[in-house]
Each structure stands twice: as C-alpha cells, then as structure tokens.
Symmetry: C3
Subunit: 166 residues, 3 copies
C-alpha cells in the first residue's frame, strides 16, 4: 500500500511536509474545516493523511455524508437559545442556514471536497477500532476511502510531521 | 507584513519554536485555554500565531467578545441535567459561574488576555473563508487582529512548527 | 522528577518521538481516543505526556472517572433528536450504549486504560490553573497522576515533539 511505503521513506529532510488530520467530529462545522485544511495542504505539496475516528466516521459513511448537521443546542456560538434549539426542526434549520451560506461563498459540498482531496493525493484512512465499536462495515464507506488502519499505523503516518486533532 | 517575512526567514534551526493555534470554537471554556497557551508560548520566546475560524470568530468579534458563553446543555462535563439546561437563563448561569471562578483565580478577562497576547508579540489572523461564509466585516474585529488570511497562508505560518487545533 | 529531566535531555536527534496530548474534554467519546493514542504512542517507543485541563479534569478525578458521559443533546452525530435528548435518562442511555459497544469490542475501561498508560511510562500532568479555577484538590486525583504543572511546563514537555489538543 502506498501509505506504508511512504511511512518508510528515507528522506528525513522533508519530514516536516507531512500533515496528519485526525477527524473525531461528525458535524458539518468541523468536517468542512478539516477538508479545507487537507486540500490546502495537498495543494501546497504536503503529504496529507486524514484519519476518521469516532463521530468523524459520519463524514465517510455513505448513509450520513449527505446529512451532516450543525447542532443548535448546546452550541452557544449560535444565536439560538437552548429552549428554541429543542423545537423539532431546529437542527435542520441551523444546518440549512450554514449550507446555504457555504454555497453562497462558493465553497464546494462535502462530497465534492472529498473528490478534490482524493484528486490532490490526500489519503483517507478509517479507524479500525471505531468500525468495531460502532458496527460499521467497509461497504458503508464512500469510495474515496483508502483503507482501514489502527492507531499505530495512524501515528506512523504522522511520524515526523504535524498532527491536527479535530 | 511582519508575518510574511517571518514565514520566509532563513534560520531553519529554530523552526520548532513556532506555535500556531487554530481556534475554531467560540465558547469561553475553549477561548480561555487558547489564549493562555498563546501567551505562555510567547513568554517562553516562541513565535506564536492564532488563526480564528468558524465559531472562533466569536472571540475576535467586538459584538460577541464580551459575551462568550459556556453551554450547560449537551455538556456532560457540567453537573447540570440536560432538562434543566433547557430552562432559559441556564447558559447565563453556567457562564457566570465560570467567569466568577476565573476572576477569583485571578485569571485576566478575555479582552485583557488579547491585550497581553498582543503585547507579547502574538499575531492574530482571521480566516478569510469564515468572513465570507458568516458575512462578517473587518470593522467588526477587535483592534488587536493583525490581518485576514486564507488557509494556505495559515499553514505557512505554522510551517516547521507545532499546530494546535482547538 | 522524571519528566523534568526528560525535558532537559540532550539527545536532540530523537526529539520527534515526543507526543504531548492536551485533554480539555471530559466526555467518554473524547477521553477514550486520547488514552488509546497515548498508549499506542508509548507502545511504539514514544515519550508520551498527557496534560489534563478544563473538562479533561473529569478523567482523572476519582469522583467523576467512573461516570464519564456521552451527550445525546447537541450531538448531531448521534441518531437521537434533540427533543428526545432532553428526556431525563437519555444521557445515561447514550453513555450505556457506548460503554456496552466498547466492552463488546474488548476495549478496556477508562480506569484500566490509565493503568496501562502508566505501566507503559505515559506521564500524567494536571493543569494547575484548572485546579484553582474549579476548586479541585490533588487528593481528588486517581493515583496514576504524576504531578500538577502550569502551562509553561506543559509546553516544555511538548518541546520538539507533536502536540494534540483534544
């Protein structure tokens, strides 16, 4: 596998150029920046890896990728009181608002950002432990996902580089 | 601009001394540690950059900086049941409690921490994409903000250093 | 103290092998990955430090470690509508579900992961500022905690290494 040989490469002088993004959140407002940083890093010539774990699995699951949400409740960054956030439909409204604003700012959709990332050489890895804990199958993943790896391989992929935990 | 020349500096031997803090959260309990780490790093002689994106924009917006909140709902770290967290006023109460405790522990206010950070040479950058998505104007920012930059410049500012995503 | 001499070690060529995990969250779904990454890193021969701050303090407090929760409210990654998340008992249910799934996947409990981390040489540091703000005493900590340190010592422990902010 490509990423394994990359782990073992010998040119130590370039090692700062690696960027590993661990995505543990499954909300639109965290998945979007993770993908923006990944694609930007790849455009700059970095070797970029994304590792999807816990709620981050929502971003690469075919069943959930089209429906990533923004929570109006317990999110004091949104100008919606908690009591209103409870009303059914408010999560959909907050999510729709953000999606609309992202479209207006010409930001690609999440599925399109994954395609861009893939074209730019970003490697996508799913966390094996999360698969087991959450009972997710490989067949549930979008086709852009490269493989399923454990935490040790994940840390090796970030060896000598920068790691972001999102 | 100062940070651009900093990016291009030649002394590669010092590059571990850079610290880039990406702040994506807009709650008091995340903005406070971000600023504490930034000011501490600067005191230790590091070149520190803060990049404000998504909800982190709340921390540098004049309209919101004085009113950063702690959410009692959906925050199982707080000893308040969700059902009580719904009662109007509970966010204010949780926030007031934390502010009171921070004052008692002689921790400076958020605006004062920004002044300290600035005095110590910390550079403050706002995310251009978030400005566009959220419809925020530069005029909304506190005067300590240095500039508005994109993700590529942000990654350059962290080049060869440590990056924290908060 | 062991970790202080570690900071001052002379072998600069190995410095990428350091891993500092700053844990600021107190929920089961963030404490578990933090500990998994820490133990994995230690197994791979890294010098691993964990720094517990803000809500992360829940993970090392004897009063709370046995009762870390997953929030069903304001967590759009969970398939529970906000309005249902409000019903008393739903936090317990979401937490119980995750604990059950973790056990089934043979993942050790949080207290057991701390014991493993300790056996593997991971150093555990509590944030002095959080102690003061939250009025927590050293006596409240699980015995695995090594010491109470400030932000400057914390940054020194990560010097030259990788830092994750969880």
């Amino acid at each position: 596998m490509a990423q394994v040989s990359a782990v073992k490469r010998e040119d130590k002088t370039e090692k700062q150029e690696r960027l590993l993004i661990i995505l543990s959140k499954g909300t639109l407002d965290m998945v979007a920046p993770a993908l923006m940083i990944a694609t930007t890093g790849a455009t700059m010539g970095k070797e970029v890896h994304m590792f999807f774990t816990f709620w981050g699995m929502n971003a690469i699951n075919k069943k959930t990728i089209g429906n990533l949400k923004v929570a109006p409740v317990g999110n004091p960054g949104l100008p919606i009181p908690n009591i209103l956030g409870m009303i059914p439909g408010m999560t959909a409204m907050a999510t729709g608002m953000m999606k609309g604003k992202m479209e207006k700012a010409k930001i690609p959709s999440i599925p399109d950002m994954f395609k861009m990332a893939k074209d730019l050489g970003v490697k996508l890895h799913a966390c094996s432990t999360t698969l087991e804990v959450m009972g997710i199958n490989k067949e549930d993943f979008i086709p852009e996902v490269d493989d399923v790896v454990g935490a040790a391989t994940m840390l090796e992929l970030g060896e000598g580089g920068q790691i972001l935990f999102i």
